[in-house]
């Protein structure tokens, strides 16, 4: 689209007049801030953005963006957004959802939206808890979590959002962290530029009901030992003083090695474009504390985009059959005349 005559937009242009209603120090604030930074850089007119969310603290997000927005019902945002994008390919549609909204009640819609590769940017705020309803177990809460609904500890084995996405044929899968501002901005940008379903998990701190759940990955002092930044074509190196790496031999599990003993070339080199998603899948399974958790773009490949395909079938059908003519349609098949 030609953006020449566009007024240059700034973060402020994307702020709505609504008072923001999250708890003090909620991770959602930072994600909102980064989003407001990224959108103006896309060269897309503000009115072309649509934010669709479900229900949850995170799903309040659209109210705070001065774009078109739909704060819908619990779990259905991907389905609603699919309707929006199918009917209006010209719009730039984002889905904002939470771990319960996306993976518990909404799991099926998420899975199908991703496998169809609808051109939606899906941002999952993972705080490993139900925030809005005040602290119940979520599908990402670790085993043993004591929550309002699991006072003796959760026995529900958690889902990995990224594994679900990859298992659902995702073309773009990424992870970032609410307070890792520069990285989060980069990831949101990458998602924005992807054609098709872009799925992003953001570690988000629920300061009230699950405070510090991701401290290992966000706390300055320790994070570098607990996360590894993925960069396309680069080896997986991490650690305070970048002295550790990830090596994989054959299909066996990945292992942490010291760069003292192992050369960089023996490390796993990241390939976000690998047609075969198994690598991304394996990376998505690396879990703290056993492993540093990868953040960044796990997978970014091209595949036909659903809404484009649907609309192409329409244009092709018009091209071949010509614009539909109602009276011709009515008169098709056997007819007869009276009087």
């Amino acid at each position: 689209m030609d953006t020449i005559e566009l007024p240059v937009l700034t973060q402020k242009d994307f702020a709505s007049d609504q008072e923001i209603r999250w708890c003090p120090r909620c991770g959602d604030y930072s994600i909102l801030a980064q989003m407001k930074k990224v959108l103006p850089t896309l060269g897309i007119p503000r009115e072309k953005f649509v934010f669709v969310s479900g229900i949850g603290c995170s799903s309040r997000f659209p109210y705070y963006m001065n774009t078109y927005g739909f704060h819908s019902i619990h779990g259905r945002a991907p389905a609603i957004a699919t309707g929006v994008k199918l009917s209006r390919p010209d719009l730039n549609v984002w889905v904002i959802t939470g771990d319960g909204d996306a993976l518990s009640i909404g799991g099926n819609h998420l899975m199908h939206c991703i496998r169809r590769n609808v051109d939606l940017k899906i941002i999952l705020f993972n705080n490993q808890i139900y925030g809005l309803t005040k602290g119940q177990n979520s599908p990402t809460s670790p085993l043993g979590s004591r929550t309002k609904s699991t006072p003796s500890g959760s026995v529900d084995n958690p889902l990995s959002p990224l594994c679900v996405a990859i298992g659902s044929e995702a073309t773009f899968v990424a992870r970032s962290i609410d307070v890792d501002i520069r990285h989060l901005t980069m990831v949101l940008e990458r998602a924005a530029h992807h054609k098709g379903s872009a799925f992003v998990e953001v570690y988000q701190d629920c300061n009230v009901f699950n405070s510090g759940a991701f401290a290992y990955a966000s706390k300055k002092e320790i994070k570098d030992d607990n996360i590894v930044y993925l960069e396309h074509g680069k080896p997986l190196v991490f650690g305070m003083n970048r002295d550790k790496g990830i090596r994989v031999d054959g299909m066996s599990r990945p292992e942490v090695v010291s760069l003292a003993s192992t050369g960089e070339d023996d490390l796993l080199f990241h390939d976000e474009q690998a047609t075969e998603p198994s690598l991304a899948f394996m990376l998505a399974r690396m879990r703290y504390p056993e492993f540093p958790e990868p953040v960044g773009v796990f997978r970014a490949v091209q595949r036909p985009v659903y809404d484009e395909a649907v609309n192409r079938q329409i244009t092709e059908s018009i091209a071949s059959k010509g614009e539909g003519d109602l009276e011709e349609l009515f008169n098709s098949g056997d007819t007869w005349t009276v009087g």
Binding site: Y68, S72, I73, G83, H109, N331
Partner: protein, 645 residues
């Protein structure tokens, strides 16, 4: 059956006309056979699911329609799943009522029954009227088939069983094989042509023109000429059999009906819905968005529309009904004419998202093609038992207009009306059809586009917040409709959602006064629809003893029944409701103008319940929950009871 309403002799049962020639009016001879005129005939084809009964039924229907008869059909499928060949549960039937007069029902009693096997005979014989013509494929009545049908001995042989019918034992299998001899077909292929042999026979019996069918065969099997030829030969073989053998001494003629002049086609309810929806989109100058999840008997709407891509129709087969409904809400927000359809179980699932459409005040059509319930119930059978679900199946105070189609062809008009209301009032609208309407067929006078009432859609184009800078998504017009602003429109950015909204600004608002105001406003808006829909009309005396009130697919049967009384000059009238919510403004007055109100429904009394609560009228019910439509006789009987009471 309808034919007893002839102007000439209202009381003479048509079957009299079908008595031996002696009693019949003089008729030209052909090959020594008598030709009789009938006013109308009910014929039913029945056989195994594999016997192609729906197909020949449809062919006979087309032939009759093209010939100019009025028609009304009633297909009767077995449960969705294929049953073992020859089993009772595997029987498939197709009933056609064709007439030289205007008719509204597929007929109560069958005049001619074609039964392709014992199971078909057993399950259908009861509907054949005494003295009726019974044509069977006697080759199919072997030990094993008889056993599967639960006959200890061959029913064709045990005299009294079939006495009182005009039984014709036709060795169709053998004759068909002979007919296709030499085309190099396998026996299985050859036997597949039997249905056309049977069709040919009744074509002769009722003097139908085989041409259209032959053309259809040729086109259908163009890739397989020998099969085409075989079916054509079987058809001719059947006709010749009737013509030449002794077994048939009479055949019949049913003159064309005097329908309103115009060009006609046969149409089923689901076809008419699909046509109506595309038409509505065209009239509104918008694209149609249809989201559905397959379910009997609604699936065909998706099938039909998915073939109309060059009309700009987007069809989305969603992962489930919740996604279908949700995506329709999204499409409506995006500015499309959004539609979803399902049947009972799926409509339950859509309830929550319908509520979202109600509070966000977006136009969406939700079609419920009703079937037998509760739960999965009787998927292939018809029922009217979702009316109260349509009224109340959402949490909170969540009012929605409800419109119901009365006949297959009426779906075309009714769904356009639904769409008009949806966009003019910015509200979801519930559209009720049922399995009987969906699969039934009738002649449809093909309209010119110019005859159709336009649908006007207005989209907000500029900021309505004179002064303030933010667009006001809930600033209403005189109809209380909020503006429909398309995403992508500069300056109209706004947010909507499922939490209670402040009127005008659309901001989240939990204040007591606003909630009361919005609840009242949503109710008032829907009530306001009564200002634009027609007042309730009645057929018959506009005051008197009995008013029969019907809705939906029982229209034809109830109307036919009431007409009997009207013709006799009895004080009985008929009011058929198209709008179930809101009711027409004058309905209360209409109801009060009659001594008794009778509400026949294929449920336990759902409309009756609404009428009693709304107007405090002591309406009586006539209710049938058997997965089948009413018979005219049943309804007439109940009316008579009321008159006699």
């Amino acid at each position: 059956m309808a034919s007893i309403e002839t102007e000439v002799a209202p009381e003479t049962p048509a079957r009299a006309k079908a008595e031996p020639p002696v009693e019949s009016e003089a008729a030209p001879r052909s090959n020594g056979k008598l030709l009789e005129r009938l006013d109308d005939v009910v014929i039913r084809f029945c056989g195994d699911s594999g016997d192609g009964m729906q197909l020949v039924g449809t062919q006979f229907t087309n032939a009759s329609a093209i010939f100019g008869n009025d028609i009304s059909t009633l297909p009767d499928f077995p449960a969705e799943i294929r049953a073992p060949a020859g089993s009772l549960s595997g029987v498939s039937g197709y009933q056609l009522h064709f007439s030289s007069r205007e008719i509204f029902t597929p007929g109560d009693e069958v005049d001619t029954l074609v039964a392709m096997n014992p199971a078909a005979l057993r399950t259908n014989l009861a509907d054949l009227k005494r003295g009726g013509t019974l044509i069977v494929n006697e080759d199919a009545f072997d030990k094993s088939n008889n056993a599967k049908a639960g006959y200890k001995k061959n029913p064709l042989d045990d005299g009294e069983g079939l006495a009182g019918y005009r039984l014709h034992r036709v060795p169709m299998t053998r004759l068909t094989r002979d007919a296709v001899e030499g085309l190099g077909l396998s026996q299985r292929e050859a036997d597949r042509c039997r249905n056309f042999f049977a069709l040919g026979l009744v074509y002769w019996l009722y003097e139908r023109d085989p041409k259209p069918t032959e053309e259809w065969i040729t086109a259908k099997f163009s890739r397989n000429p020998s099969i085409a030829e075989a079916n054509r030969r079987a058809l001719r073989g059947g006709m010749n059999y009737g013509f030449s053998t002794e077994s048939f001494t009479v055949h019949y003629q049913v003159a064309p009906a005097e329908l309103a002049p115009g060009k006609y086609r046969k149409i089923t309810g689901n076809e008419a819905l699909a046509f109506g929806l595309v038409t509505a989109a065209k009239l509104a100058g918008k694209n149609l968005y249809y989201a559905g999840y397959p379910i009997t008997p609604a699936s065909d709407i998706l099938h039909e529309l998915s073939r109309l891509k060059n009309f700009g129709v987007r069809t989305f087969q969603a992962e489930d009904e919740i996604a279908a409904m949700s995506s329709a809400v999204g499409a409506a927000f995006a500015g499309e004419l959004a539609v979803t359809a399902s049947s009972g179980p799926g409509i339950c699932l859509k309830g929550e998202a319908m509520g979202l459409a109600v509070i966000t005040e977006l136009p969406v059509i939700i079609i419920d093609v009703q079937r037998g319930g509760p739960s999965t119930g009787l998927p292939t059978k018809t029922e009217q038992s979702d009316l109260l679900l349509a009224m109340f199946g959402r949490n909170g105070e969540s009012p929605m207009p409800i419109v119901a189609a009365s006949t297959p062809a009426d779906c075309f008009d009714a769904v356009q009306e639904a769409m008009r209301i949806a966009v003019e009032f910015m509200t979801p609208v519930l559209f009720l059809s049922d399995g009987y309407i969906a699969n039934g067929a009738e002649p449809w006078r093909i309209p010119k586009l110019s005859e159709l009432k336009p649908i006007t859609v207005r989209h907000a184009t500029q900021n309505n917040a004179n002064g303030q800078d933010d667009f006001l998504p809930y600033k209403r017009n005189e109809r209380l409709a909020r503006p429909w602003a398309l995403p992508g429109t500069p300056g109209l950015q706004h947010r909507i959602g499922g939490l209670e909204k402040a009127d005008v600004t659309g901001h989240v608002d939990y204040s007591p006064s606003n909630h009361q105001h919005m609840t009242d406003t949503r109710a008032a808006k829907i009530a306001g629809v009564a200002n634009v829909i027609p007042e309730q009309a009645v057929e018959g005396p506009d005051e008197g003893d009995v008013l029969v009130v019907s809705w939906g697919g029982t229209y034809g049967t109830v109307r036919t029944a009431v007409q009997r009384f009207i013709r006799r000059g009895e004080s009985v009238a008929h009011a058929h409701l198209r709008w179930l919510n809101p009711f027409p403004k004058n309905l209360g007055d209409v109801l009060r103008r009659y001594e008794r109100v009778l509400v026949p429904e294929l449920n336990t009394g759902q409309l009756r319940f609404l009428l009693r609560a709304t107007y405090l009228v002591d309406a009586a019910g006539f209710n049938k929950v058997k997965g089948k439509p009413f018979l005219v006789g049943e309804v007439a009987g109940r009316i008579q009871e009321l008159l006699d009471a």
